[in-house]
Amino acid sequence: MIAKTPKSGAARRQFIFDSAKMVCGVGMLGLGLGLYAKQSKALPALALRPPGAMPEDDFLGACIRCGMCVRDCPYNTLELAKPETPVATGTPFFNARNIPCEMCEDIPCIKACPTGALDHSLTDINKAKMGVAVLIDHETCLNFLGLRCDVCYRVCPVIDKAITLDMVPNTRTGRHAMFLPTVHSEHCTGCGKCERSCVLEESAIRILPPKLAKGELGRHYRIGWDEKSRAGRSLIDESKMLDLPDRLPEGAVLPGHYDPASGHTESMRGMPGSEAGAISSLPPGLGGKP
């Protein structure tokens, strides 16, 4: 080993100081970059990832920013984020209001991806979850105003599954129906064609990340009618259900009065409060909100 001369001592001091300088300087750069990375994970709500994209946290680690998905998209839907875009630099995204996803059956963007950033196990585009459409503004949606715009419903590639028109009475006129576009998230791929085609100046229906768009039931919740249809029968003994008396005028009969013990449950169908469609039996213009 080298003897401990004053010279080697000084050299060692110098080495330690130089290293400390580097650790501090580069450490500061790293800290700045790390915080920037943290921020870049906050993807703006209207920037959508290509189909099959991993959750944002994983996506930013898996995507190498090569742009192959952008190149193989036949509709120029995708673009790579520029440094000034509020999306992590170089990563692919699309804005549904500009160009929506056309849901190609062969999903060329996923095939082009050299990493797992776009999940290669997604082969059915109908199972994609780029986001969830939300009819976000009930005040400007033309169908909510009582008109038959229906455009978002008509353009939906998963029409009658992802978006349905649900008829409810128009209580403003008292004599018309409203056909409310209703999104069913389990079928919505988030392609954005509805958002693109909304005729308003600002779209009333928008694709949001599922995390923003969806509520979540408590895990212990059981939905009675689902359990019933799954089991083929009620999970509880309905004959032993306690039914409290309804407050009715003397001698009045309430059709569909829920009284399992009396065996009248079937007539419940079609009545207010039933899940089986509240409207059809209501006289036009007389129904309040169920």
Partner: protein, 294 residues
């Protein structure tokens, strides 16, 4: 003295060897850089899709995948493995640079090299001296930081700000404000630190230098005895520290091969030397001269 000082780098070489031979490797290098760029641009500009993608990953003629191993490595430390094509591309690139020298990427491929060479040239013409001192090891610290940082944040960290990919991606996919980053690199090299970006800060170059640690293709100085100490090679070299051991190391028993992994094999020293001291060759040529010395 002042006349010699004002003399342009390589002027003597132009006189002795003619303009072409005094610029040969520079021109070939520019042709290489611009051809690679042209291949990438032929798709978006002219619809000729020979190469798709960018320097991070590209697919040539639907046949040849090429992956930047540094970007892929950052992705891998976040816990994600590329797909087969991505991995194959990485292997091809690794083998290529292991053979020709990692920093061949810097001088023959990287688009930022054109920017920093321009800054270096202008700095020389304007006679700008001095500036802040940044250690040449800084880049290795930054390289380490980006890998540790990628693992900690789960984000391919350097790609958030990497001027190399920003410029290349900008040219191919749309520039946006990426030009400001490139301008900062240019001004930094021009006014703050000579060869500051490529030779001191850039972790991409640092990564590739490690790749080229044992590469056989090297610049050598077999005719070092003819050196007339004009200093042109030191002046023109982006990494002048790599030249001395080979050019002046004979007395200490050093061979004529430039062994430093930071030599970018740009060949400018070969160009500007009027005495034709330097040439491209293999690293094994080092053994002969050291053996003859002993």
């Amino acid at each position: 003295m002042s006349a010699a000082k004002n003399k342009r780098i390589g002027a003597e070489a132009v006189e002795e060897k003619g303009w072409w031979r005094a610029h040969k490797w520079l021109i070939l290098r520019r042709i290489s850089q611009f051809s690679i760029l042209a291949l990438f641009l032929a798709g978006p500009w002219f619809g000729q899709w020979i190469v798709k993608g960018n320097l991070a990953y590209s697919y040539t003629l639907n046949f040849l995948p090429l992956t930047d191993p540094y970007v892929a490595l950052q992705s891998m430390v976040t816990g994600h493995l590329p797909e087969t094509l991505g991995l194959t591309g990485m292997a091809i690139v690794l083998v290529f640079y292991l053979l020709v020298g990692g920093r061949v990427y810097c001088s023959w491929v990287c688009p930022v090299n054109i920017v920093t060479d321009a800054a270096g040239w202008l700095r020389n013409r304007l006679g700008i001296k001095g500036g802040s001192q940044l250690g040449r090891s800084t880049r290795y610290w930054i390289l380490g930081m980006t890998l540790v940082g990628s693992a900690l944040t789960g984000v391919v960290l350097w790609e958030l700000i990497n001027p190399v990919s920003m410029l290349h991606r900008g040219l191919i996919f749309g520039m946006g404000m990426a030009w400001t980053v490139v301008l900062v690199v240019f001004l930094f090299d021009l006014f703050v630190t000579s060869r500051g970006w490529c030779s001191r800060l850039c972790p991409v170059g640092a990564f590739y230098s490690l790749l080229g640690r044992w590469s056989p293709l090297r610049v050598l100085a077999p005719a070092r005895a003819a050196c007339n100490d004009c200093m042109d090679c030191f002046e023109v070299c982006p990494e002048p520290q790599v030249i001395r051991p080979a050019l002046k190391g004979e007395g200490k028993g050093g061979g004529p091969v430039i062994l430093s992994p930071n030599c970018t094999n740009c060949g400018r020293c070969i160009d500007v030397c009027s005495k034709e001291v330097f040439t491209f060759g293999l690293r094994f040529n080092n053994l002969v001269s050291t053996a003859s010395l002993r």
